[in-house]
Amino acid sequence: MRVLVTGLGTFWGSRIAQELEARDDVEVVVGVDTHEPRMPLERTEFVRADSSYSILQRIVHATQVDTILHTHLIVDSTTISGRAMHEINVIGTMNLLAAAGSAGSPVRKIVVKSSTLVYGANFEDPYFFREDGTRTRGARTSIERSLLASEGFVRDFAEDNPHVLVTLLRFSNVLGDHMDTPFVRALRMPVIPEILGFDPRLQFVHEDDVVDALTYGATHDVPGVYNVAGDGVVTWSEVCRMVGKRRVPLPPVLTNFAAEPLRLMRVDLPHEMLALLRYGRGVDNSRFKRAGFRYGHTTAGAVDAFCRSMRLERAVGDSLPEYRYQQDVESFFRHSPAVVRD
């Protein structure tokens, strides 16, 4: 198996590359991104690309990869401008799929990491979205629109290239030690925001399950769309109780307006998160289980694991060592004849 990982410089790209490096059936791991990986990698080849992946076709043909792991869909709108997000999610996916579908392309499998954000959050929603369900209202935030557009390209690609196995995984909110998402940031604050009078049902997935799910998709033949979320639901009030922090209510009307001063104080509550804090969202995770995947954590278990890691962090500080990728050092260890390899 020869694998190409997009977004190698992101947390997910690096984690997946580490996971794939450890497998014997993976011959080659190539990673592309605009910036270097921040985690130590042993045999993954890093190629710098621009954010819209315009050189991908050459990379695909040169490396003869048969599997592409597209981990580089932005699902957090707070860390990036709308324009940059569009460039990465929409144009990046378009170029990636164009490269994968070009004449003589060796690609036979594509795994895409998307988000349950594509379902939105609204009072008319079913309590558990199935993969073939639809949104009840049109997408209003740029993040949702860009994800829907990317998924549209993936669908078209799957229809036009029946010989390629396309797996689209929609992840619910991820919790984990090393995450930096609006939810994790909210839970790390001294007090946690809520919307007065609402206590939504939410689902979470543990970061290890995300890595496992992506690896499962890459190493098994499971074409199709799958929701990935831990079993069960928890309410926001229960999450806050488990974390052991007090809640501060935002007004139920003009919520977005009230969140504005908080945004100035760098407490970022994007639209899509406010919708979740109001109506919540549930997805049916049984389809991926029927395809053979096994979760390590339930929704409540993911919250609990997050609480424990936060307690540890409070006691000993962040234990993750800083890693710096240095092109010449890395290439020396990988390619120099002076290095003895077994």
Binding site: R108, V118, Y119, F123, E124, D125, P126, Y127, F128, R130, E131, D132, G133, T134, L148, E151, G152, V154, R155, A158, E159, P162, H163, L165, V166, T167, L168, G197, F198, D199, R201, D221, V222, P223, G224, V225, D231, G232, V233, V234, T235, S237, E238, R241, M242, P252, Y279, R287, K289, R290, A291, R294, Y295, G296, H297, T298, A300, G301, V303, D304
Partner: protein, 316 residues
């Protein structure tokens, strides 16, 4: 306000076709409404139970937002009202199955419906089975009220929710097919059943493979009768109806919440089984409408029968 699920286009679960080998042309999940239909995989028929974390939850809110603790509190608070104010009296409770899913269908009345809590409370007391009450989506959008409603067993009336509750979870689900047309009717139209929607409740019961258990309720109509309604104000406030109730005329603003002590009598009718295979993509429209009409007629006749023997609105 409780409402039937058929006000939305029925969403049918789309069967997933399977494909043989990866090299062959892969069949697609054919649907125009799906966000992204991409090739379907070979799926195991039954999901094996997952290796679970130890249960670390502190609350008891179930996947539907219902909390047995909240339900217990609501029962304690509501029981005196049920016993001494409405003095609810049941017959035919044996028609409600003690296990497996069933769709309970009842007539609907009172400006702020008094029948839903009476039915839910009664069945939970007598049969010790939880009842999930389907009601208008809009309730979910209301702060505090929406959350409370959900914690005591309310679920948004969405066909997918109903199917999942009945088919997957095998629950008792209560629905009022008349919806807000039933609760918004004037006092002079009491006990005259409205159209039972488009029969969506029958279709859901068929699809879930569960019987419909009709329930006729006498008493709710007189507990908060509407004497006049303003179409203009309703439109302005974007609500189904703007009622002036007899309770308001008598008690002033308190009449918004105070019911008259009408005697409640409830008759559970024999369950209606549909002799059709479950999980079909669609069912014959005419068959669905026939069954819906039949059930409506059963309830209507039972109501007339009960009203014939009723001597007093207050004492039964």
């Amino acid at each position: 306000m409780p409402d039937a699920p058929e006000d939305q286009a029925p969403q049918r679960p789309i069967p997933l076709r399977t494909n043989g080998d990866a090299g062959a042309a892969t069949p697609l999940v054919a649907t125009g409404t799906s966000l992204v239909p991409v090739p379907a995989a070979d799926l195991e028929p039954d999901p094996a139970p997952d290796a679970h974390d130890p249960d670390v939850r502190m609350g008891d809110v179930d996947p539907w937002g219902r909390s047995e603790r909240m339900r217990e509190i609501a029962r304690t608070v509501y029981d005196p009202l049920y016993r001494h104010w409405f003095r609810a009296e049941w017959e035919g409770l044996e028609h409600i199955p003690s296990e497996g899913g069933a769709l309970l269908v009842a007539n609907h009345a009172a400006a702020i419906p008094s029948d839903a809590p009476v039915i839910m409370h009664g069945i939970e007391q007598e049969l010790e089975r939880p009842v999930y009450g389907l009601a208008e989506n809009m309730l979910r959008a209301l702060p505090v009220i929406g959350t409370m409603w959900s914690r005591v067993g309310g679920v948004a009336a969405n066909p997918e929710n109903a199917y999942r509750l009945l088919h997957d979870d095998q629950r008792l689900v209560l629905v009022f097919p008349e919806g807000t047309k039933g609760t918004g009717k004037l006092y002079r139209d009491r006990y005259k059943l409205h159209r039972f929607g488009r029969g969506g409740f029958v279709e859901i019961a068929m699809k879930s493979g569960v019987p419909v258990v009709p329930i006729a309720v006498v008493g709710a109509e007189e507990s908060m009768p509407i004497v006049w309604k303003s179409g203009r104000l309703a439109k302005l406030l974007n609500i189904p109806y703007f009622p002036v109730t007899a309770n308001m005329l008598m008690f002033g603003p308190l009449g918004l919440v105070a019911y008259f002590p009408a005697k409640f009598k409830l008759r559970v009718l024999p369950p209606v089984h549909f002799d059709v295979p479950p999980d079909q993509e669609r069912y014959s429209r005419s068959r669905v409408m026939d069954e819906a009409d039949h059930i409506r007629e059963m309830i209507q006749q039972a109501l007339y029968d009960m009203l014939r023997t009723r001597r007093s609105v207050w004492f039964g």
